[in-house]
């Protein structure tokens, strides 16, 4: 198991430099656009996410780009806010994961053996069951709500990062430049902060950026099972899932949020690959 996750979470060398370059452009661009949209939703969106702006079920038109939903909300505006929502959510999950993972992983990787043993047993235990299943169970027990879903996911997301960090720490620890730093007689704390931790940045960034898309999808999945955000929260997964009943009569209600999800995920993946290519090149 030890290197399992580490190895598993290494799809980044995948991108050959050339394709990498091609993708970096597109990927990062989309990524940037999405982020801008997410941040500027209130400015960009023509209407508020919860403010009905006309009759329900209006097909896409010049006034309402993506049409209106079953309540008469402007789907376009809701998708913008939803993008922000989903974005923030997945970011939160990933950041929490990274933070906790970094802490635990670093302590395990750089601390004394016995501590490493304990921490990794715990991590292994967490990894022994697929995160999303636990998330489903937890969310099911807690009852549907975006917060619950996020809690559920964050609860199970960090072990991956703990593994990555720990592995990286162990690897870096053996690297000549760390040895050299230690040998040169500078303080242990300084070695860790200046010579070890920065070395993990690229790996973590890559893992995280590749994860964002996955989290968005996971959230969407939970929403589909009625465990995600409860209406009328403008969360893409929830919007798509709850709009499914209009799939045949008012396709724009579920399709546009779903497309937004797809775009985010795709961009996140591609951008992740791109970052990876950079990181890979840097190594």
């Amino acid at each position: 198991m030890t290197s399992l996750v580490l190895r598993a979470r290494a799809p980044w060398t995948s991108v050959t430099r050339v394709r990498g370059r091609l993708r970096i452009g597109g990927g990062l661009l989309t990524f940037a656009i999405i982020t801008v949209v997410a941040l500027g939703a209130p400015l960009v969106a023509p209407y508020g996410p919860l403010e009905p702006i006309g009759r329900p079920f209006q097909p896409p038109s010049a006034r309402t780009l993506f049409g209106t939903d079953d309540v008469g909300h402007d789907v376009f505006s809701r998708v913008l806010y939803g993008t922000r929502q989903s974005w923030a959510s997945s970011l939160v999950v990933v950041l929490v994961g990274v933070a906790v993972g970094l802490l635990i992983g670093a302590v395990a990787g750089l601390g004394p053996r016995w501590l490493d043993e304990i921490l990794m047993r715990v991590t292994d235990a967490f990894l022994a069951i697929p995160a999303i299943l636990v998330a489903i169970a937890v969310a099911a027990a807690l009852g549907p709500s975006l917060v619950h879903a996020l809690v559920a996911i964050s609860l199970v997301w960090w072990p991956y990062y703990a593994r990555i960090v720990r592995g990286e720490a162990r690897a870096l620890r053996q690297r000549p430049h760390v040895e050299a730093a230690v040998a040169s007689g500078i303080s242990r704390h300084r070695v860790v902060v200046r010579h070890v931790l920065p070395g993990m940045a690229s790996t973590l960034v890559v893992a995280a950026s590749l994860d964002i898309g996955y989290v968005v999808l996971t959230l969407a999945g939970l929403s589909f099972l009625g465990l995600g955000a409860a209406p009328p929260t403008p969360e893409l997964g929830a919007m798509a899932a709850q709009g499914l009943s209009y799939f045949l009569t008012a396709w724009w209600i579920p399709i546009f949020p779903a497309l937004a999800i797809a775009v985010i995920t795709f961009a996140a993946n591609v951008a992740g690959d791109a970052v990876a290519a950079r990181a890979g090149g840097g190594r």
């Binding site: 549907p144 409860a230 009943s245 045949l248």
Partner: protein
């Protein structure tokens, strides 16, 4: 697969293909107590009484005639002769007695209907007598209710009883009733098959088999109906879906009146709506006609009576008002900007209603948010006051047409499904007296008074009377439906056009 609706798949058998959106809970009529799958129990079991189609009028089923003692404590039924259970066992008073005892013994949800039964007798094969501890006004309605006591084949029960379960395990996936159909094959989460009861006492149904396949996703159901894989979709589509289906030449959409009332439940503990005047204003601000037609199309009609159709004489407790949109605004002047939660329990239509309500509250100056409740949450509300919203939109239906089944379940202070714990003590008192009054006319009067008390409490604001909406192949005809039914039609009377 595929094929035309109501396809005759050879060998003279004619098949009707329906869908369930989920596995129903065990189909033992004495514990079964939900909507999904009611179509199956109603087609396989029969009680002593029933209602006339789409009417509150009680009529005999396994009983041909009945009489009630003046003190309202003794009921005497003359049973239909020549009735057989689906395995050929003759049906008689003894069987009925056994069935009553079984229900009481199983202590299932619906057993409360027989809670007051002191004893039963079967003096002869066609006479069945029930003695009550105290008069139970809605007793006859209980007997006619789709969840009421039915004839359950005692020999089958005896044959399959294990560990004192009174055959419940077996009956979960088989049927031992006198109904036109037999539950002949169950593959859980896949299919439920009904076949015509060979020993049925009534007119043989046209369709010799009825297949239910479990299709959780309603879009898929709709697609299969359009594609001819299904002959009927019992529920779950949304208004626009039905409109487009109705427009489809090979399909039809049937609407049947039910006891369902779409209501706004008011939380008496609400900072805003605790005050009667505000509730009044809220009610007046609602334009139920427009709301109903917007949200439900012809799946419902605006509510005009305070209770579901047939519970009280028409117009006895009328419940209409002329909408004055800005009534609320003035009423909640004091509470400007206060947070209120509009909860809803149910399908997208209720969500729509909730949102529309939210909008008008917003316009009235409150900051309203919508929250959805799933079954497990909403039915926990009576016991978890903290979770209660300020207003709750829900559509409920009683077990039988009698008004008591509404008051005692939804309205009395201690009623099991009084979601927000709002009630009117005066109403409660009257209702209790009415329930204990043997003389029908007197008790009816009392109920009317109780009804007015409840109405004036403004704990409930009626919006619409829901229909049971069924989409089906246009080839089908012979529709029949009972008021308390839901997701259900009379399969026995269905037949192809022409």
């Amino acid at each position: 697969t595929g094929g035309s609706p109501a396809s005759s798949s050879g060998s003279g058998t004619t098949t009707l293909r329906l869908a369930l959106s989920a596995d129903p809970s065990p189909l033992d009529p004495d514990t079964y107590y939900e909507a999904e799958g009611l179509q199956i129990t109603t087609a396989t079991y029969q009680g002593l009484l029933t209602y006339e189609p789409s009417s509150p009028k009680i009529t005999g089923l396994l009983a041909t005639s009945w009489s009630v003692s003046p003190d309202g404590k003794t009921y005497r039924f003359v049973l239909r002769s020549g009735v057989k259970f689906n395995d050929g066992t003759p049906f008689d008073a003894a069987a009925m007695k056994a069935s009553f005892e079984r229900r009481t013994a199983l202590k299932g949800g619906p057993s409360y209907m027989l809670a007051a039964v002191a004893s039963t007798e079967a003096p002869d094969a066609t006479t069945f007598v029930v003695h009550l501890k105290q008069p139970v006004v809605p007793f006859l309605d209980y007997l006619a209710s789709p969840y009421g006591p039915v004839a359950v084949n005692p020999t089958a029960v005896a044959a399959h009883a294990t560990g004192g379960d009174h055959g419940a395990g077996w009956l979960a996936t088989h049927s031992g009733g006198t109904g036109p159909y037999v539950l002949s094959d169950v593959v859980k989460t896949t299919k439920y098959e009904l076949t015509a009861n060979p020993n049925y006492w009534g007119t043989k149904p046209y369709y010799s088999t009825v297949d239910f396949s479990v299709i959780p996703d309603f879009s898929s159901q709709s697609l299969e109906l359009r594609g001819g894989q299904l002959d009927m979709v019992l529920h779950g589509l949304d208004t626009r879906d039905y409109t487009s289906l109705a427009a489809n030449p090979v399909l039809q959409v049937q609407n049947f009146p039910t006891l369902f009332k779409v209501q706004v439940w008011v939380n008496p503990a609400s900072r805003v709506f605790g005050a009667i005047p505000v509730r009044q204003a809220l009610r007046d601000s609602l334009d139920t006609k427009t709301l109903t037609s917007d949200v439900y199309g012809n799946r419902a009609s605006a509510s005009t009576q305070f209770y579901p159709v047939g519970m009280l004489p028409d117009g006895a407790v009328a419940d209409t008002w002329s909408p004055s949109p800005d009534a609320l605004k003035t009423a909640v002047e004091a509470d400007k900007g206060r947070d209120v939660v509009v909860g809803y329990y149910g399908d997208n239509s209720l969500k729509q209603l909730a949102n529309t309500l939210q909008v008008s509250l917003q316009q009235a100056g409150l900051s309203a948010t919508v929250r959805s409740y799933n079954p497990s949450q909403v039915f926990a509300l009576p016991t978890t006051p903290a979770q209660r919203p300020d207003l709750l939109l829900a559509a409920m239906n009683p077990d039988a047409v009698h008004i008591d089944t509404w008051m005692s379940v939804y309205q009395e202070a201690q009623a099991p499904v009084n979601f927000l714990g709002c009630s009117a003590p005066a109403g409660d008192a009257l209702a209790t007296r009415a329930a204990a009054t043997a003389d029908p006319q007197q008790s009816l009067d009392l109920y009317e008074q109780a009804a007015r008390a409840y109405q004036s409490s403004l704990c409930w604001i009626n919006i619409a009377d829901l229909n049971d909406t069924i989409a089906a192949s246009s080839k089908l005809t012979g529709w029949q439906h009972l008021l308390p039914w839901i997701f259900t039609v009379d399969l026995a009377t269905l037949r192809p056009k022409g």
